[in-house]
Symmetry: C2
Subunit: 343 residues, 2 copies
């Protein structure tokens, strides 16, 4: 190969080793993106290790090759042992247990990134997954969020994502290089809390958008509700963390993920069904019927957010978030989603 | 009527008189909104005058009453003579002629607001309709923009709008009171250029969104393209006017109008057809077939924006705007809409 001036061809003494912890749809697509880049970038070992529950289940998405340099490993401790770059992409409820198992088992110089959406928003503050990882494992943790439907990225449809980081821009840019392809554009944003909060709060707005769809109120109304939702996402995030930046909400993790989630997505879909039934069938019932027992993130996040707002006396500042929860629990009819007094 | 403490019941010696110049769908809906408020607010005369080309055609939208206090007037000079609040809502190409006819015929203390979207973006700078009105008639001019589909507002579906103003907040708040109803939420934003530019530039993004629809690339890709478009709208507006604010793009005139226009709207629709045909049928042909001879705003705005970008050496800063125009004129295939080098 002819030498060039690019970073790719500089000899790097300590190549980075990447392990993906998690092997669902999104984990597999992440492994595919990463594996295509570790082959090209000389600063990374080619091999990408992926921790899987059961090796045979996950080597492929339906019809999608992950890359021959992806090595599935059913042993968590073994999978992470040599890696200095850890990509976490499990369901969020597993992370506490995984962190406990990993204490003392990872490299001291390891860096982490979380692709996990759906942290909980507790009264004492949101339980950021990135914070959990940093506190439990004592390593720096970035996040990667955005309008990312795994199946669409798997077939290489154009998409974007945002890496949120805290202070260390160099490591953020390393994650950007590791994930970026010609169909997956990644940019870095120094606002780890804002980026991670977007990934959770958008689900509440998707419930509101679903109500509008169920009431057949048209694009105008839906756009207005999505905008109000984006505004409340921004205001809520800034009240929780004064470091959160307005500009974060213009990134893929903000407005783009919100749009995707409010156009498709199961939160929107179940909320549409809820409104069509005039709120007479509960979310529990609809979830059981439509999601094979999975629970909707948006409904529980709306409840958590409501508790925080009530506890801090902020309910009136967030009419949309408040109304979504009150509709979900049957205190208000679905039509209330468009009934606000002029503020 | 029992007196209350509200502004509505304070006696006002000089009541404001409103005239709506224009009587299309959006003009009629605006008259309806205004007429419902002049009846309630004592600071306004009940009667709303509406200039119409031919009186009998426009008293009603299909099935919608405008209000008995809307008086149609086919005589332009007569219609504006007593008004101190002028609402302009004609097709944009008529405004130059109307302004010429109105010089010296309006009250000296008149205030104007433009609801007209689709100014031209010329090499020497954009021809803002609000600037045209101010320069020709020597009066202050606000703008009202947003996600406003006339037919949806006519049937009182929930919607929002943004009043853009320059310095004089008091007059902006008067316009807000004049337009606001329980289903039409209006807020004021001190950025007349930013608000007016949103109403024009969104049509270029809608063309891009239509291409994505025609290529059947999915919600993920569409959301990414809409976000890139919003970012370029913001960057372009700020390069043209340093006074333009980031926050304007979070208002109804920004993100909400963009969403509405990219979900429905004829720019999106024709662009979808263009992409489905692989760019083999020209926009001229598709417009003739789909729009009964009307021209697409987005295609001509894309051309105008391109000329400005080329002239100022900014093409590389605006890959989406540039690509939209190059696809429209057949220089690039529709698939180019998702082919960007990593920046």
């Amino acid at each position: 190969m002819a030498p060039t001036a690019s970073e790719d061809n500089v000899e790097v003494p300590n190549k980075s080793r990447v392990t993906v912890v998690g092997s669902g749809n999104w984990g597999s697509v992440a492994a595919k993106l990463i594996a295509s880049n570790t082959l090209k970038l000389t600063s990374f070992h080619d091999e990408v290790r992926m921790w899987v529950f059961e090796e045979e289940n996950v080597k492929y998405l339906p019809g999608i090759k992950l890359g021959q340099n992806v090595v599935a490993d059913p042993d968590l401790e073994h999978a992470v042992r040599d890696a200095n770059m850890l990509v976490f992409v499990t369901p969020h409820q597993f992370m506490k247990g995984i962190c406990e198992r990993l204490v003392g088992k990872i490299r001291e110089d390891a860096e982490a990134i979380s692709l996990i959406k759906g942290m909980e928003v507790k009264m004492e503050g949101p339980c950021m997954i990135s914070t959990l990882i940093t506190q439990q494992l004592r390593i720096n943790c970035c996040v990667l969020m955005g309008a990312n439907i795994a199946n669409e990225i798997a077939v290489e449809k154009f998409s974007e994502a945002t890496v949120g980081y805290r202070e260390n821009k160099e490591i953020a840019e390393k994650w950007v290089r590791l994930f970026s392809t010609h169909y997956f554009m990644v940019s870095a944003c120094e606002d780890v809390e804002g980026v991670e909060l977007c990934g959770t709060l958008k689900n509440v707005v998707a419930i509101a958008a679903g109500f509008v769809d169920g009431l057949e109120m048209g694009n105008n109304t839906k756009a207005a509700i999505m905008r109000m939702g984006l505004r409340e996402m921004k205001a809520f995030s800034k009240l929780l963390f004064s470091s959160v930046k307005d500009s974060t909400f213009f990134e893929s993790c903000g407005v783009a993920d919100l749009i995707t989630t409010c156009l498709g997505g199961r939160n929107r879909k179940c909320a549409e069904a809820f409104a069509r039934n005039g709120g007479k069938r509960s979310f529990d019932e609809l979830e059981a019927e439509m999601l094979q027992g999975q629970k909707l993130q948006g409904v529980s996040t709306a409840k958590e957010v409501y508790e925080v707002l009530r506890h801090r006396g902020w309910l009136e500042l967030f009419p949309l978030f408040t109304t979504v929860h009150e509709i979900c629990i049957g205190r208000l009819p679905p039509t209330a989603i468009v009934e606000y007094s002029q503020s």
